[in-house]
Structure formats: C-alpha cells, structure tokens
Assembly symmetry: C2
Homo-oligomer: 282 residues x 2
C-alpha cells in the first residue's frame, strides 16, 4: 500500500482515518495543521505545519515518501491577509486567493491541483476507509416512514439545486416547508436555528416531523469536503424535532459511526442513505 500523507484539519475525521491506516498496516504520515488538528494525532508519525507553509508541507511529504495525500477534517477559510506563508507559499498565495474569490469549490479545486502538480495522488476519506460512508438504506433501528417521504424528496431536490450554486450541502424540510438552508454558518448553526422556530412549524420529541438532508454538491470534487454526519448531527436534529436525517448513499461521511447509530436509536430518529437516481421513488 502506498504511503499516505494525511493533511489533518480539526474534528474527529482525521483521527478515524489515522486509526484505520494503523489497523490495516498502511504506512502513514500526519501533517497536523497548526491550531486545527486534534492533539491526539501526535501518537502517529507526523509534524505540525502552518496552513500557509506550503513549501514545508510539500518537502516534508516528499521526504517521508508519501505518494498520496488525503485532506481530512475541518479547515475554516483562513483570513488570507493574516497568513504567514513560507517562500513557496508566497508564490502560490495569489492564485489561492484568486480561487477563493470564486467560492469554496473553486478554492478546493485549486488546492487539489497544486498537490497533483507536485506529484501527489489525492485520496478522498471514503477511499482511505470505504466503511466510512453512508450505506444505502436504513442505518440503525428506525426506518423512514411513508409520512416522511414527501419531505425527503423535497429536501433532496432543494439540496441538489443549492449545491449547483456552490451554496451549502444541507437543507431541512418539515411538513412541506423548507425550514432552513445551510450556507457559511454550517450545519450545527442551521439546526440550532430550526430548534428556535415556532413549534407548530416543526416537530417535537413527541411527534417528530421533517428531515435533514445532506448531499454533495454536483460540481464538487468528491475527494474533499464530502458532507458529514456525526453524533452531534443526530443530537441537533433531535432538538429541532426532526424525524430523521438522510443523505446520498456513498456521498456522506460518517463520523463515530457506532455513537452516531446509538444516538439515533436512543432518540428515535431514522438515518437513511438514498442511492443517487433513486430519490424520485423514495
């Protein structure tokens, strides 16, 4: 197996991937992005690298013999004016900033291109660990009921359209109403806002209504930035009175899968993966 350079932002995803590599015996080097990567990643071979130290990142990955890289974890859009790039970073930064002005997707594509031109293969998190994505069909104890299928179809249609505009990857629909659409605030803030809407617009723990749908953007490079479900997603969806969460089968990453399923089973929410193309009949 070719050696993997894991470029680790914040959150639990990089830890899961590193553990997976260790368990399968895959050689690994972790580039821990300063101020973002979980300190627990220090248990694996790696180095701390600033987000604009591109020269150091490239040379370290080459020295370590990494043939492929995987971008994983949360990387907030930096304040480009406040970055401290190294020499290589300085030459690349203008192109990065220009790409960033064209949206999140353009920025990611540009970064991937830089790594590819440097000779690295790019692997998505779902390629590093195939067990990590949402499978088709129900996950956990609760299945999607027929009373939720209209909301689900509406939410998928809206999420796909929004994604085409490089807007967010998440939509909440309850009882035929689009309650919320995610843009730069993130899924957690969006679900919090749903929980603050008048109770008659949404469901409750006693009578759950509505569904959160996350769907990859049709324009996006699936090797980075796939939408994510984690235990927090379930907790927040439950607090908003939703009946469940759904996403594209194979197109949503699962964080802490066991905890995720346990939370859904405990709170009575469904989790379902929808195969692309099958959503009209769902």
């Amino acid at each position: 197996m070719r050696k993997l350079g894991l470029i680790a932002g914040g959150g639990a995803l990089p830890l899961s991937l590193a553990a997976r590599c260790a368990a399968s015996g895959r050689p690994l080097f972790v580039a821990r992005l300063k101020g973002m990567a979980d300190p627990d990643l220090a248990q694996y071979a790696g180095a701390d690298i600033g987000v604009a130290e591109i020269g150091k990142l490239f040379s370290t990955l080459h020295q370590e013999g990494c043939e492929a890289v995987c971008f994983a974890g949360v990387v907030k859009r930096p304040d480009f004016a406040a970055l401290k790039p190294d020499l290589r970073g300085l030459t690349l930064l203008p192109g990065v900033v220009a790409a960033a002005r064209r949206g999140d997707d353009a920025l990611l594509r540009h970064l991937l291109g830089l790594f590819e031109r440097e000779g690295f293969a790019i692997e998505g998190a779902h390629e590093v660990d195939r067990a990590m994505t949402l499978p088709p069909g129900p996950l956990g104890r609760y299945a999607l009921g027929p009373e939720h299928s209209a909301d689900l179809a509406q939410a998928i249609a809206a999420a796909r359209t929004l994604g085409g505009f490089d807007i967010g990857q998440a939509v909440v629909v309850a009882g035929g109403l689009v309650l919320a659409v995610e843009a730069q605030e993130g899924t957690e803030a969006m679900l919090r806002r749903c929980a603050e809407l008048p109770t008659h617009l949404r469901g409750s723990p006693e009578a759950r209504v509505g569904v959160l749908v996350k769907w990859p953007k049709p324009i996006q490079d699936r090797r980075v930035d796939l939408p994510v479900f984690g235990p927090d997603t379930i907790e927040r969806a439950a607090a908003a009175g939703l009946a469940g969460i759904a996403g594209e089968a194979g197109g949503v990453l699962l964080l802490q899968r066991d905890d995720l399923i346990a939370a859904a089973d405990r709170l009575g929410l469904f989790i379902v993966g929808i195969s692309p193309g099958a959503e009209a009949g769902s």
Copy 2:
C-alpha cells in the same frame, strides 16, 4: 375609486397603505387582524377580526361595501390546531390546512382563491400605492460600484433559483461566497447571522463587501407577500458589513421610504433596483 378592504397584519405596511388611501380620498375599511395589526390603525374605519373568523371577515367586508381587498403586513403562519374558527372558518379550514402543507406559496394562493370566489378583487400593496415599490436604478446617495457587480449577479441568480423552490426570497453574497440564504427564519435573523460570521468572510464598516438581494419568487402571486425593504433592513445589512442592498425593480416593497433612504445615506450603503432581464449585464 372602489372601496378597499385592507386586511391588516403586523408591521408598518398597513399603516402606510391606509394613510395613502386617506390622502387620495379612497374609501377604506380596515380589518385589523387580532394580535397582529398595529393599534394605530384604529384611527381608520375598521374592525378587529380573528385570523380564523373567516365568516365574520367576509360578511363585514360585504356589509361595508368593499369591492377589493388588499392583504398587507406580517401574518405569521398560525398554529392551525390552536385556531378558533367561526362556522364559515370551520368549513374552510381543512382546505387551508391542506394547502399550508404544500408550502407558503400554496397557502397564499388558496387564501386568495377563497376571497376571489367570495366576489372580491385582490389588489397588491404595490397596486394600492404605486410609489411604494423599489424603482429601477440607485436610490439614495450611493451607487453600486463595479466591484460589487459580480456579487450582485451571483446573488440574483441564487435568489431566483431558490424562489423557484418556494424557499426564501433573500440571499447574501460577499466576495463570491454565498454567506446566507433565508428560509423560515426571516431576513432579520439571516442578516444577524451574517454579522456573526468571521470578519474576513465579510466586509466591515471600513471596507464594505457584499450585497443582500431580495427577489420575488417566480412562482408567487405578486398580489401578496412581495419582499420588503425597510430602515431595519439597512441597519442590519450595515451591521453585517455589506456594501448595499438590491432587489427587483417593481418587485420589492419599500417601507418608510424616507427613513430607508436616510439610513442608507448615513451608513454608506447603496440601494439599487434591477429591472428583470437586465441583471446579467449589471
């Protein structure tokens, strides 16, 4: 001039329209929706009517000789289970609830149909007072700069697409990024959320970036629920660091027009009306 029955929800719009009718000598009767309408409306001929007292509303409007009705002001989606309908309301409520399940636009269309079948003509607020909508071109002292035209075009395209899904009527774009999309939370909450995003994603009072666009839904009946700009819109947009606000010329209602323009001039924001079809070249 035919006598107008003004069905008044919350906010300043019904007061503006009533004042306009009084100034122009148009006969007027104000149905003040209980718990919503501004108490100052009591200065005009009218009556307090509960939101589900449809029988009383119809008979009162007929007795008063109203030939046309105008729906104006904020009417929050009620909790249908908690309504206290009169006899006529009881017979009509199931249809209203069924329409509400198909979204905001379906609900409004259904309500308009009920009034039309009862013999009333429907007038939009912009028909009652033509001076009330956003004119084409700049309003106030500040004009749209060329540095804002890409954000403007992107926001218009997104808003029109979202409207086609009966999602909100408002989008914020800054520096090529869609910062926020409005759904059920309303424009004020959406702008508040923009003001909470990291400052490097948005502008500031010193270097304003980005635009709020409001655009009518392509599917909507323009006689009700046109998007609105008021002085609050400018205050909130300014707090979020935006450079200005824009909307469809003739398709956005202006509340407290003088105060709106004064706020924009004081805070340095542009207001611009875009003629439909001209947005690609803007």
